[in-house]
Symmetry: C2
Subunit: 339 residues, 2 copies
Amino acid sequence: MLSPETETVTQARARIGQYIRRTPLLRSALLESWLGHEIWFKAECFQRIGAFKARGAMNAVVALEERGERPAEIVTVSSGNHAQAVAWAGRERGIPVTVFLPASSSPIKRQAAESYGARIVLTKTRQDAEAAANERASRGAYLLHPYDDDLVIAGQGTACLEALQEVRPTAVFAPCGGGGLLSGTRLAVERLAPGTPVFAGEPALADDAARSYRSGAIVSLADTPLTIADGVRTLAVSERTFAYLKTLAGFFEVSEEDILYWTQWLTHLLKCVLEPTSAVAMAAAAQWLAGQRSKQRVLVILSGGNIAPETQREIWATSRLDRLPGTPSATGTRSPPVR
Amino acid sequence: MLSPETETVTQARARIGQYIRRTPLLRSALLESWLGHEIWFKAECFQRIGAFKARGAMNAVVALEERGERPAEIVTVSSGNHAQAVAWAGRERGIPVTVFLPASSSPIKRQAAESYGARIVLTKTRQDAEAAANERASRGAYLLHPYDDDLVIAGQGTACLEALQEVRPTAVFAPCGGGGLLSGTRLAVERLAPGTPVFAGEPALADDAARSYRSGAIVSLADTPLTIADGVRTLAVSERTFAYLKTLAGFFEVSEEDILYWTQWLTHLLKCVLEPTSAVAMAAAAQWLAGQRSKQRVLVILSGGNIAPETQREIWATSRLDRLPGTPSATGTRSPPVR
């Protein structure tokens, strides 16, 4: 049982309902016939800004306003979906947003945050970006962390909450980066479907959370891992998210090959654009399903669909579509990382 | 005015309604702000088999049954979406389907038709495939043509019909291959929004229909054109579809560069998988919109989302996302073909 109050996730859903999209649940008849199980996909690629991160950012911003703590400025340090989410939420609520980024970050990601109206400040290094954001926060700006924040966690949980209002799965799968999505998912399950196992998928190349889970203490990676799943390249979870992650039913480490395999296949079958990070959750589900004797109904949370062109090139460099899902050696194996 | 009875398209919609999906209309706030116009996309990538072709095939099959002419077998010669559509429609209605294909055709397309239960017969050449299908048809099988068929045309028109039930555009755009989709679209517009201009997009590298339109007589290409838009590589339209095409408001020939540009951008903005053929319609719309002085509301029919991995590689070989839509030289220019 979780000690934090599970209603924070239902409160979050009510708070952000007018801003976010209720994303569809997708299924593929072909995939289900091949695997022999029901698989429901929560398609957060169709969320505002193209990823679930819009939920957590908006929940934090509106909750601050409700408490009478509307910030004069919001700052963040992120080159990915979180930066876009904060930029979008700030614009929606009329609060200026500044994103601090190392100059080496991808121009396309900068452009995306700028499209949503954020001011971008480039720094020499990531450390400089963090220092600048902290300095600004010390002078009254609100520093919105991508996962180490109760309001962000509750917001991310609304994706699973919506899904559980429509389907009652036998297991739930989500990808693990900093742990915000999984923490919120855990809250939503506890609220609407207590007892349902929640599993994490994590790239074997970025297995800090899986090792933390097994050892019982937070493990940090020394360097940014080279996994293609760029949404889960975080170095370590936080004490806050680890408290939730400890209560999960298990972690599956997935190979780069499996991530690419499921990115191609889910793109092909669902016709929606999937970040490799989304495929991490499906790769975990496939491993689990391969060991099940009775028919299961799983919920897989697809995190988003923002993919840089260079990542698209990498995804499609070699075809994986000649091996059908469910055939031997397709999944369920723990093949060694190939990157 | 069109002489054929426009109610065939409303009849088709009623006939196939229980089999097909009512696909969503998508918009992108960013794209609309950049171009200064409303753009509504009919997303046939979410149609059964991943393309609009399911509509025409199912309409033909069910209409034959209604007339008491249920065939013992359906045959077709196609390596693309039409083959999958016929395989799917036959399986749904319990009629065996045989697809004749040259052995050189892509294994992934064969696999797709097989997934839907069709029998695949490989022949040496395309001519052999056609001869074999005709021979089978002479012995009682029904040969389902991809576009030279009134029932197929009416079925394809149901995509536009559904859209016109939700939005009243100032212009409609669709890609031109054999002309089936545009013929049906023309019928739907005449039925629900008479007077609304319908425009065709066609790759400059496969401009048989545009040249036919300008000259008033059907022009055939000598060889299969090398455009990346593999859904519109047909050599010539038919007399039947040309009768509709003559009534269009115009043709836009689009460069390979523009096809790739819009494939990347629409994938990025809409988060759905788009065949380059779908981007042909948007490239045409962009050309037209660049010359408009007042705010327009256009409907763009996205034909489908079945893309072979080798085509994905080609699409993403070079990033086009660094030039925003609506900026000078982005579109509206008639740049020379680059393939």
